[in-house]
């Protein structure tokens, strides 16, 4: 038995499933809360499961929810690896979406694939601008990125409200007295194609491909190496001749760009227009924040962020469905999400400890040590 657990493969499996156990522990506390609300926890969690995985449509909804989480998440992988904390995902999504929507509404004469491509690039660009500004501010003006990204989220919301009730308002709404703050609908040919007879759209596929590309970028290119080097030790990097400031800007800019793309895919894949309820989460569904959580669940690794986003998306979608089926207040759902986040992030502790023990055991046995990934270990402890 002991030998079995020492086997590398099983150990890794246990490591990988630790967050799942942690999430379950959080849901156990949630069960107590549900019980106190006079809701049958079994019924509630069955609704959660069914809502997320119960049918092909449910699973598609989960993937739709996971798409922006993944896109924001892979951006977060870049920035946190570069030791910059980007909590401006919300604003970057909004600006990306505004720019992409503007393209989609104004180039109606062009073929669909072209407009979609340009729009996605516009989204990328919009996010890059909104992420790049805090990058420049941090690198050249010593303005902390937490401060600037928080402030720029608020600014982006006001810009969205202004554009959607002003210059970009749906012409049919502009005439009415009750001006609904939304843009016109995108032409049908400009919408991201659907992958199945559900709401699942091409954006999900794009996100997965980009996750792989970001992995390659971070671990197989000089650019990625330098971003990580700067993140780990800026002083040593400077000695090594890396222009630290440039890579700080790049890390935030790229991170913002992926969030901007997330915003663009929400418009072109899900809503087909931009609508505001006055807040950022009305448009983003808080994906700009939740993407951070997804990335950290994925240990800041773009590939691992894929399953992490799906799991977190499932939790969000399933929780909404739980609200519908057993009529628990949405507030409980929010609190439960918070507990899951806290528990999962805490479970890292045991994973790291197991890793350390394995390392020690390997040293003792004087074998060749299993890949300890010291870099990842250290990153996790210094990442944010």
């Amino acid at each position: 038995m002991k030998k079995l657990f020492q086997s590398e493969w099983i150990s890794r499996l246990i490591d990988a499933s630790l967050p799942v156990f942690a999430a379950m522990a959080a849901l156990l506390i949630g069960a107590v809360m549900l019980f106190l609300l006079k809701v049958n926890p079994v019924e509630a969690y069955k609704a959660l499961w069914d809502g997320a995985f119960g049918s092909s449509n449910a699973f598609a909804e989960t993937l739709v929810k996971a798409t922006p989480l993944l896109l924001v998440g892979i951006g977060i992988c870049i920035s946190f690896r570069g030791d910059v904390i980007n909590i401006g995902g919300e604003g970057q999504m909004i600006i990306g979406a505004i720019l992409a929507t503007w393209v989609g509404l104004n180039f109606t004469g062009l073929p669909g694939w072209l407009v979609i491509t340009i729009s996605m690039l516009a989204g990328f660009l919009g996010g890059a601008i909104w992420g790049g500004i805090p990058g420049v501010l941090k690198a050249y003006f010593s303005v902390n990125e937490i401060l600037s990204t928080v402030m720029m989220n608020a600014i982006a919301v006001q810009m969205m409200n202004f554009f959607l009730r002003g210059p970009m308002i749906d012409p049919s709404q502009a005439e009415l007295a009750s001006k609904i703050p939304q843009t016109a609908r995108l032409l049908e040919i400009f919408r991201l194609p659907r992958l199945a007879p559900t709401r699942l759209h091409l954006g999900a596929l794009i996100a997965v491909i980009l996750a792989i590309l970001v992995y390659i970028l971070l671990w197989r290119t000089t650019l990625g190496y330098r971003i990580r080097a700067v993140g780990q030790n800026p002083h040593a990097s400077r000695y090594a001749g890396i222009k630290v400031q440039r890579y700080v800007v790049l890390a935030l800019l790229l991170s913002g760009a992926f969030a901007g793309l997330a915003g663009a895919t929400q418009v072109f894949g899900v809503n087909y227009r931009m609508i505001t309820d006055g807040s950022s989460s009305g448009f983003t569904g808080s994906a700009g924040f939740n993407g951070i959580v997804a990335a950290l669940f994925g240990q800041l690794h773009p590939i691992l962020t894929i399953p992490a986003s799906i799991l977190f998306g499932a939790l969000l979608v399933g929780a909404n469905s739980m609200q519908r089926v057993v009529q628990v207040p949405s507030a409980l759902v929010t609190a439960l999400n918070g507990l899951v986040v806290v528990f999962v992030v805490s479970s890292e502790f045991w994973r790291r400890r197991r890793q350390r023990r394995r390392l020690a055991a390997a040293k003792q046995n004087d074998e060749s040590p299993p890949q300890p990934e010291p870099e990842k270990l250290q990153q996790l402890e210094t990442g944010a």
């Binding site: 909590i87 303005v143 902390n144 402030m151 810009m159 507030a331 609190a335 918070g338 806290v342 944010a384």
Partner: protein, 310 residues
């Protein structure tokens, strides 16, 4: 119309309401500052504020005693801080993300309790304004500085107190050393864990009071998500202030004054889109930092869990 901005009424109005608006930021930011000085970033301030605001409001509503309300807010904030401390100090959890978790927990939990215990928006008689004898009679200044409620005064007294603790006491020295060089502090016999527990719980307590200052002193009402992003601004202001109490005070006042200025701009009918007005405090806060280019360095150990080298 622009000239209307420069009348005495308007200037007094801007200053007085700026001072009020800054109150919750001061409590929350000073608390967060202590945490960060010891090396812990807490992004969950908003959640702590919301739970504090609810606890204070509910206790004040049911017992009729505002002091019990404050006490409840402090206890709830401290409990949230305790959990945060355990997770980040003992379990070495990623600080930013556990903060987001606690934010969501506080956001949901305060709303859930509000729905189950109260069910509808109610009002409570909060701390009344206290006119400081003599001083409040000074024209202009009296209205601005000496006719506020108790928790407003408390927030401004907190600033020098925090400065004193941080710079003139052994405790402050320990906090700073733990945040700058935990290894060295540890080798000198300072318990890194204990100091961080202290600062995080203190931060939670103060965030709870920040919530209470809204629900039973400034607004006298509780509503779901009533802080509406205020807690995140409070975290940002710590960076603005360069981890120093007076800097935090400057940031909180700047942000709040500009916010009250933009309210006046709209009230006076100066024709700019309301969104542009609402943006002003955010834009200006960044701009001021860009112009002043402060070179204050963050505490070296910020966000880094401490683990003794065995």
């Amino acid at each position: 119309m622009i000239s209307e901005l420069f009348t005495v009424t308007v200037l007094i109005g801007i200053l007085a309401s700026g001072i009020r608006l800054a109150t919750p930021y001061l409590y929350a930011s000073i608390g967060e500052m202590f945490g960060q000085r010891s090396g812990v970033l807490n992004l969950g301030v908003e959640g702590q504020m919301l739970l504090g605001a609810f606890a204070a409001f509910y206790v004040a509503l049911t017992t009729g005693n505002l002091w019990l309300g404050i006490l409840a807010a402090m206890i709830v904030g401290a409990l949230m801080g305790l959990m945060m401390a355990f997770v980040t100090v003992n379990l070495h959890a990623q600080q930013g993300i556990s903060g987001i978790g606690f934010y969501l927990f506080g956001l949901g939990m305060s709303d859930l309790l509000f729905q189950k215990l109260m069910g509808t928006v109610e009002t409570v008689k909060g701390f009344p304004p206290i006119k400081v004898p003599l001083l409040s009679n000074i024209p202009g200044i009296g209205e601005i500085f000496f006719s506020q409620n108790l928790l407003v005064y408390g927030a401004y007294l907190l600033v020098p107190a925090a400065w004193f603790v941080l710079n003139k006491t052994t405790l402050g020295l320990k906090i700073r050393s733990v945040g700058e060089n935990p290894d060295a502090a540890d080798s000198l016999g300072v318990s890194v864990a204990r100091v961080r527990y202290f600062t995080i719980i203190l931060g939670g307590t103060l965030s709870g009071v920040a919530g209470a200052s809204l629900s039973i002193a400034l607004l006298n009402v509780f509503q779901q998500n009533m802080t509406s992003g205020l807690g995140f601004i409070a975290v940002a202001l710590v960076y603005f202030g360069g981890w120093r109490p007076w800097g935090v005070l400057g940031g909180a006042l700047l942000f709040s004054m500009v916010n009250s200025l933009q309210l006046w701009i709209q009230v006076l009918g100066i024709p700019i889109p309301s969104e542009i007005a609402v943006m002003m405090p955010y834009v200006l806060t960044i701009l001021v930092l860009v112009i002043t280019v402060s070179r204050v360095r963050a505490p070296s150990a910020l966000t880094k869990p401490f683990e003794r080298e065995d």
